[in-house]
Symmetry: C2
Subunit: 464 residues, 2 copies
């Protein structure tokens, strides 16, 4: 297949929305409207039904535009999609994102349609490259290209960040973008490639691995089309790649067939590939979300010793259990000097050990003092558990942790569990780069992955 | 030890707050203020420093009240706590909740203090029963007794419900109450018993097992003091008991010593006890929260067949994987008649299988039609995955699911992942009794426990 630089896909100078609608309740309205509001390049609307939409000229066909078009977004009925795609190819559109569904995933008729599309691509020597069909499309927070047809009132606006995501499934993609946006976690680029009739996860992975706007790559995979190529890409990756796999089992595999029409492959082999290539494999989608943010927001760990601070004894017990049960992590041992200093800042009845219980009346100030005393190279990461439901705890903890993280340049992972005030505090912390979890269990599981990778990956100083 | 009915602890006719403060920033203010605002019985304030607080008479000592007192709440400095406890005993206060910390958990001085308290109890033949010391205390949404010292601006108000919780750790208790409140999950009674110098988890468990205001019991345990008694209670339990254990490991066990001063016991033995008594053991605190709500909100499962509905194919793939990997659950097989009917409500390209992909343009109405067609006794539970970020999905899904659940009387478990709109939808659903998770993985893990218990527990028709 042809090698194509994907720059103009994610950062196009001009976009044609083929099938743009004037009906506010349609996805084909949202797509062009989103673009008009945020994207700074040239936008053309295409739909033979309209002369203009909301004052913007509407072309009968992409052929009528007669200007160079980097990206065409196809959102039309499946019955005419191949026809408009053909017109776009003939008009030398560089990239097409085909949102339209009704291809291979729907059986006989769709398979015929997809075969036809494949043949068209071949006949045109892949001069036009295609994302999709049956996909959610692309989002780029650097170029402000967002062709995702998600209604504004039901989704949170994604923030600009350093995570790039490759998703065969649009639904899971929509969910993670929405979740991350509300948690304060930024995304750099996102692509959902659906049936992958042309461009696929390998093309995007290759691009994101070289991309200086991407710090961490997240990959939701169903089918694997070229195991060798995937292995090679993962093997030479210089940044963390986190993968979650759909279709691990026979029935899950059957579901991927009816979903994006791909063949799921053997999960055990896939697990082996990840192990050999230092790829971070998440067992489930929750873990996947958890791992992405810890890798995005933290430097690597220089050793496996974790220092736990808490203002709630029960949380400390859970953390001690979790770290002891971990095969990779260990509790840091507080030294005599640190112990003496800690005694000065704790009530006389406080115990000095790790987990360090700063007691229920701990203020953000006490956390700060303890963290300052525990400035030791023997510590690989801090697990800071905050029961924010106490009288003495408040938002000042945010500044304390940010300051310490800035100076120490080590992972500081927080746990906060509870209701609305906790949501607010967590979003404040996350948006400032402090990774938060709502359970000790998830925090330790994620730290474990961070350490696993830190030990194996070629050391990338730029991350530290 | 003496047998005491705990009715007057959870539903007292009169309460004395010993150590009530006039300083709004103190826990000892929050406690009496909360009571005055919600509790309908008689309240006495005790503190020699005040003549009155906010217009309410303040007694020098509990001895001066000279009226029957069902419950005394002790929230004073540890240095005088035993003295005021002694006065309360002599004044025949029936129950004391000793919030004051500084006992066994702080080492030498505290151990002496705790021994003294134990001797006092013995000398008075346990005529006064004690919860604590070093505890968060009790919350009862039936009698509106809430002595929890949690500031209002940092916690969500707990809703009345059917879950009763027994917590050795106050911090974990505070977190779960706050989380459940914000999720729309109700609590009946809560007790955090700290060092358990007198009343302990066994007393509360026994009480809640017989209590008609308790549908599900949740238990966070660190130490186990009487394994035989615990086994017997769990063995004869006629309602689900969900347990999570702190201090599973040596280091976790060490942390429980400095926390509530208890000895953790062997986790493997504990696991065996749970297995033999049909007790639902959660491996971690997140699972614990997840299991509590599924048992609270759902009838038992009559078989292990799960029907999955979704409007996002990727979610369906994850669900198929999850159920196939489960040793207990299975996917329901749609029959020919159902298949024909489903064809009529799906776009012509929709595939009919389980997981059933209702396609991205599914409306609440389409979910309703599908669920109506799939009214089959061969189905044990419905897993309804909702990508609410689509154009066609909205709040009407709440009424659809509530109506169906009311008629079918079977578990309907939802999965919704995303940001703010998802939080709103989930809270709407949870507050109306529909269990929601943010990940397919957690939903299936919880359903598995529900089925595990359904198979084993003596069938309780009242739950169905």
């Amino acid at each position: 297949m042809v090698k194509t630089n994907l720059d103009r896909l994610f950062n196009p100078k001009s976009i044609a929305v083929i099938g743009a609608s004037g009906d506010r309740n349609k996805a084909s309205y949202t797509v062009w409207k989103n673009l008009v509001e945020n994207y700074k390049g040239k936008i053309y609307l295409v739909n033979p039904k309209y002369e203009e939409i909301e004052g913007i000229k509407c072309y009968k066909s992409v052929r009528d535009i007669k200007k160079p078009i980097d990206l065409g977004v196809v959102i039309v009925n499946a019955k005419i999609s191949n026809t408009v795609i053909k017109e776009a190819m003939e008009s030398k559109v560089k990239f097409l994102v085909v949102i339209t569904a009704g291809y291979r995933e729907i059986g006989k008729e769709g398979i015929r349609r997809e075969m036809e599309l494949k043949n068209m691509l071949k006949e045109h020597n892949y001069k036009t490259r295609v994302v999709g069909p049956n996909c959610l499309g692309i989002l780029d927070n650097n170029s402000n290209v967002n062709v995702l047809f998600l209604p504004k009132n039901k989704t949170t606006r994604p923030l600009k960040g350093n995570i790039s995501l490759i998703f065969q499934s649009g639904a899971l993609g929509a969910a993670i973008i929405d979740r991350f946006a509300s948690e304060g976690i930024g995304i750099s680029r996102f692509v959902s490639y659906g049936n992958a009739v042309d461009l696929n996860e390998l093309d995007f992975l290759e691009y994101f691995l070289k991309d200086n706007k991407t710090r961490v790559v997240g990959l939701y995979l169903e089918g694997i089309r070229d195991g060798r190529k995937l292995f090679d890409l993962l093997k030479k990756a210089q940044k963390p790649v986190i993968v979650v796999k759909g279709g691990k089992t026979q029935k899950g595999g059957k579901a991927t067939l009816t979903h994006t029409g791909s063949i799921a492959g053997n999960y055990e082999i896939f697990r082996g590939v990840c192990q050999q290539t230092n790829t971070i494999l998440a067992d489930n989608f929750r873990d996947f979300e958890n791992y992405l943010k810890i890798f995005d927001q933290n430097p690597l760990m220089k050793n496996n010793k974790v220092m736990v601070l808490t203002n709630g004894g029960g949380f400390g017990v859970l953390a001690a259990d979790g770290i002891e049960l971990s095969e990779l992590l260990d509790l840091y041992t507080i030294n005599k000097k640190e112990e003496r200093s800690l005694r000065n800042i704790l009530p006389d009845y406080g115990n000095i050990s790790n987990p360090l219980d700063l007691i229920g009346d701990a203020t953000p100030k006490r956390y700060e003092e303890a963290l300052k005393i525990l400035n030791n190279n023997g510590i690989g990461a801090y697990l800071v558990i905050i029961l924010s439901q106490t009288f003495s705890m408040d938002e000042r903890i945010v500044e304390v942790l940010i300051k310490i993280k800035h100076v120490y340049r080590k992972p500081i992972i927080c746990v906060l569990d509870g209701g609305e005030y906790v949501f607010t505090l967590r979003a404040l912390l996350e948006s400032r780069g402090i990774t938060c979890y709502s359970s000790v269990h998830e925090a330790i599981k994620s730290l474990e992955k961070l350490y696993w990778y830190s030990e194996r990956a070629s050391w990338d100083e730029s991350r530290n």
